[in-house]
């Protein structure tokens, strides 16, 4: 997504934040071989690197107000329940906690659209409650996002809270939805995709939801990152993207979602098609066994 120059710029932003952290008295220190046993410094949180311009976001009067305003820009009925409450466990970070229960979706995709919308909502709600706090992870400290599934499928639960700079503004906010959709469809025409559908959601700034089909799974070989970058721009003009590509006889082939304000990216790849998807991910640990 980030060509070299932009990545350098993003890196400079992070480095600047680090320098400011030092100047502000934050103890960024490397360990030395003679240092004490507690060699680790505390860390000032830094931006994610997708900041385009800083924007002023209208602040909500209350968490309930923030939830109401935010969910008005999302699909209605996507949540069975959504609210800002407290941390669910004593071992969790304590503070305002985002809770969402998703309405079941047809086919129970591994990454439901509702999960992405919950990610968007979490970030937008944090933004509306930030009130000068620079790190959205200090506004909403965590999340629990759950969904009912078929009886024979264990109920998944997702959640987290990325350290994201408050005040990000995404440039698509200045364009009409119809224009954004037209532009996205034109981008998708550059790729071997069919049945392309684009929607724009507004948890805060615009976010794109895109679905498409391919004739054969091999059609996505090495192009998923390019589709993403083509849709989002660089730096991203949108505060999030949900991209799902299906193939005949496979169903969902790849689902990639990102929500920049909550600082999370999700990736699911149909079993057996990992080699076609050029979005990097961590590997499962090698399967090893003890000899004894």
């Amino acid at each position: 997504m980030f060509p070299t120059d932009s990545r350098r710029a993003a890196r400079l932003l992070v480095m600047a934040a680090v320098v400011l952290g030092v100047a502000g008295g934050t103890a960024w220190t490397a360990w030395s071989s003679t240092s004490g046993s507690e060699e680790i410094s505390r860390s000032t949180k830094s931006p994610t690197g997708v900041v385009e311009t800083r924007g002023e976001v209208g602040q909500a009067d209350s968490a309930a107000d923030a939830v109401k305003t935010t969910t008005a820009g999302l699909d209605q009925g996507v949540f069975e329940d959504v609210y800002v409450g407290t941390s669910p466990n004593t071992w969790d970070r304590q503070g305002p906690w985002f809770h969402a229960r998703l309405t079941p979706e047809e086919g129970s995709p591994a990454i439901p659209v509702g999960l992405w919308e919950a990610d968007l909502a979490q970030g937008a709600i944090a933004e509306r409650l930030a009130n000068g706090e620079p790190n959205l992870a200090n506004v909403i400290v965590g999340s629990t996002i759950s969904a009912d599934r078929a009886a024979d499928v264990s109920e998944p639960e997702w959640g987290g809270s990325g350290d994201v700079q408050a005040g990000q503004a995404f440039s698509a906010r200045s364009r009409a939805d119809s224009e954004l959709i037209k532009s996205a469809l034109e981008t998708l025409e550059r790729f071997p995709l069919a049945n392309t559908q684009v929607r724009v959601l507004h948890a805060l700034d615009p976010a794109l939801m895109v679905t498409a089909d391919v004739k054969t799974p091999k059609d996505i070989d090495g192009i998923v990152s390019a589709i993403r970058e083509g849709l989002l721009g660089n730096p991203s003009a949108f505060e999030g993207l949900y991209l799902r590509i299906d193939a005949p006889d496979v169903g969902p082939l790849v689902i990639s979602s990102v929500a920049y304000r909550s600082g999370v990216g999700r990736l699911w790849i149909a079993p057996g098609f990992d080699e076609f998807v050029d979005i990097p991910h961590g590997g499962g640990a090698p399967v090893v066994r003890d000899d004894d």
């Binding site: 997504m1 980030f2 990545r7 993003a10 992070v14 480095m15 934040a17 680090v18 960024w28 490397a30 360990w31 071989s33 060699e39 680790i40 410094s41 505390r42 860390s43 994610t48 690197g49 004593t90 071992w91 970070r93 591994a110 998944p156 639960e157 997702w158 959640g159 987290g160 809270s161 990325g162 350290d163 994201v164 990152s225 993403r228 970058e229 990639s256 600082g263 999370v264 990216g265 999700r266 990736l267 699911w268 790849i269 990992d274 080699e275 050029d278 979005i279 990097p280 991910h281 961590g282 590997g283 499962g284 640990a285 090698p286 399967v287 090893v288 066994r289 003890d290 000899d291 004894d292």
Partner: protein, 202 residues
């Protein structure tokens, strides 16, 4: 105790040190100082701690990631401290602030209590971040470097980091030093020195 590799996931290039499987592996922590990252195009280099079970799913990892172009780890994480979970729902990566080469931070993975299926990641300043369920029973911990898929041993990528004070938590005993067993898979993995430091490099 000796170990052998029953099966390696050839698509990933991971090397470091690991524990054996044990139900008393209630947590792990280490300081990690990243020195260099040279991923191949579109891919990422990672240094981090991992907790998982015998099937490597679920899995939770906390550390540093830096990529060379592309969308970043799971489409999100690049040039940041991160937490990634791997579950039946796929891969999820949360960003947790920037870092600088040569500056160490401590990472920690812990169950909240012995027998809990939940493993929680603590990043940098000991703040609880993401967690993953389904990790009750015997766990294995890794402290490693990783090059994401499409990397092979010979296509020009590189990176190095120093791990320090790698420890294991067993409830009832607290944290104790561990050295584990080296797992070399394209990476050169050192042994702990008198300062309890060891390197991973390629």
């Amino acid at each position: 105790m000796s170990f052998s590799v029953a099966e390696a996931a050839s698509a990933y290039v991971q090397g470091g040190r690991r524990t054996g499987f044990s139900a008393s592996n209630d947590g792990t922590k280490a300081g990690i100082k990243p020195h260099s990252f040279s991923p191949s195009s579109g891919d990422c280099i990672i240094f981090g701690l991992v907790a998982t079970n015998s099937s490597s799913n679920p899995q939770i990892e906390a550390g540093y990631v830096r990529c060379n172009g592309g969308p970043g780890l799971d489409g999100m994480c690049d040039d940041v401290m991160f937490v990634e979970t791997i579950t039946s729902a796929g891969f999820q990566c949360y960003v947790h602030g920037g870092f600088s080469q040569g500056v160490a931070h401590r990472f920690r993975l812990e169950r909240p209590y012995n027998g809990s299926p939940t493993e929680i990641a603590y990043v940098a300043d000991d703040i609880a971040t993401e967690s993953v369920g389904g990790l009750g029973g015997e766990l294995i911990h890794w402290a490693w470097g990783e090059a994401t898929p499409n990397n092979t041993c010979t296509n020009g990528w590189g990176g190095s980091a120093t791990f320090r004070n790698w420890q294991k938590l067993t409830y009832g005993s607290g944290y104790t030093d561990i050295s584990g067993s080296a797992y070399n898979n394209c990476w050169t993995v050192g042994s702990p020195n008198a300062n309890k430091e060891w390197n991973v490099s390629h």
